[in-house]
Subunit: 222 residues, 2 copies
DNA sequence: GGATGACACATTGCATACAATGTCGGTATC
DNA sequence: GATACCGACATTGTATGCAATGTGTCATCC
């Protein structure tokens, strides 16, 4: 088994992602420790790490509170993603490697096979394939810090759940953009790949903000 | 007095910046705790935070090791800074506020007064003023995450010491670029401000890499 | 009735003891 | 002589107890 700290970190992150903890709610160390079957020490370290990664906020002498996302937060995160994901894919296009290309291709195919079925299970698969695709780019880029930063920006709750807000046309476009990026990288055209990535992230931003405006803000909170 | 954790964090960060710990050296929890007069618990938390911020690397079951910088690391960091500092200053130029402008102006004047004397004390002042100037921009930008990321990218050792590598002309140009950014922000011209910032950071990158190539790589390590 | 202070409680901060893990040296074996 | 194994030591990982801090309530005073 992994270490208690790692287990606490992963469990808490999953719960923050799936909405177990309402935004703003107070996460008490002792309570979490009891639930996870470990002591407060690894829980404390997990909370500190989740704080650094933006999942929650630790206030000195008061404890951890599940993060409350504002529209401005979401806009900032999508903008930073557009900058950094484009930066990463431009590097990837400069020095592509076969393993990474295979991973990207596999992610594309996985998503495309699931696409026709528009149910929730299909969306799970597509969402997972999406993460794989982007992660493959981060790794191929060889930019370790950029990758670390993106990991903390792209993982938080609303990013993972955003796929539910896409309509069929939006999903189709998203998958097509993945294919286009793959083509651009194989062609070694960094400017092309970067431009598609910027469009890709901005499209996601638009879908998300549109969903928020149309009263599905609950999805943000969750 | 601040908390033990905060004190440990600040002390260790300062030591990592001033070269007390050689790159790659093993930082033992108990030893640090004894030196700082606190227990291992706050030291552990400080080490974890320094790991997240890129000052050192914590290997599970093995402990913390002072980070060893490669040329590729430095190039990546300067490139990310160029992206993110420009992003921040573009936001700042869109919505400038008087307090931030005053802080930037004060930082410019502080550096300019110290500039003619080219000794080490003057460089200290200029380096400090530089940090103040950039921090003022980050705060004015209103981009909280961008600011957090930049703080961890811009602080590490070689950033703080890079001023020693500038010649008089380079320093002069750096100060002029600060003034130009201030002018651009006051004019509300985000594109202008962003462009100057990109040039500013890339100039710093060139100076640094030049120093490394010319055998002053020791400065990197320190 | 509203404001203020003190006290009790809940919770986090820190210290310390013990357990688990990794490293390094020595020894036996091939 | 090289290598694999074993065990002692050093170090980190985790649990737990106590101290410090913050919060909410209740009584008291204005």
């Amino acid at each position: 088994m992994a270490t208690a700290r790692e287990q606490a970190y992963l469990t808490l992150r999953r719960r923050l992602a799936d909405g177990t903890y309402a935004p703003g709610s107070h996460l008490r160390e002792e309570e979490l420790a009891a639930q996870l079957g470990v002591s407060r020490t690894p829980v404390r370290e997990a909370l500190r790490r989740l704080d650094a990664e933006g999942w929650l906020r630790v206030v000195p002498n008061q404890g951890a509170f599940a993060f409350e996302w504002s529209v401005a937060d979401i806009e900032e995160i999508f903008d930073l993603r557009a900058l950094l994901e484009a930066h990463a894919v431009e590097h990837a296009a400069t020095a592509p490697d076969q393993r990474g290309l295979d991973a990207m291709k596999a992610a594309c195919e996985l998503a495309e096979r699931a696409f026709p079925g528009g149910d929730l299970a299909a969306l799970e698969v597509i969402s997972d394939a999406n993460v794989r695709f982007h992660r493959a780019i981060w790794e191929m880029s060889g930019q370790a810090r950029c990758r670390t930063i993106l990991q903390s920006l792209a993982m938080p709750p609303m990013m993972l759940r955003n796929f539910r807000n896409f309509d069929a046309a939006g999903l189709r476009r998203s998958l097509d953009q993945h294919r286009e990026m793959l083509t651009a990288i194989i062609a070694g055209n960094a400017a092309w790949a970067g431009a598609v990535m910027r469009a890709h992230v901005q499209a996601g931003r638009a879908v998300f903000l549109n969903a928020v405006v149309h009263g599905e803000a609950a999805a943000v909170a969750a």
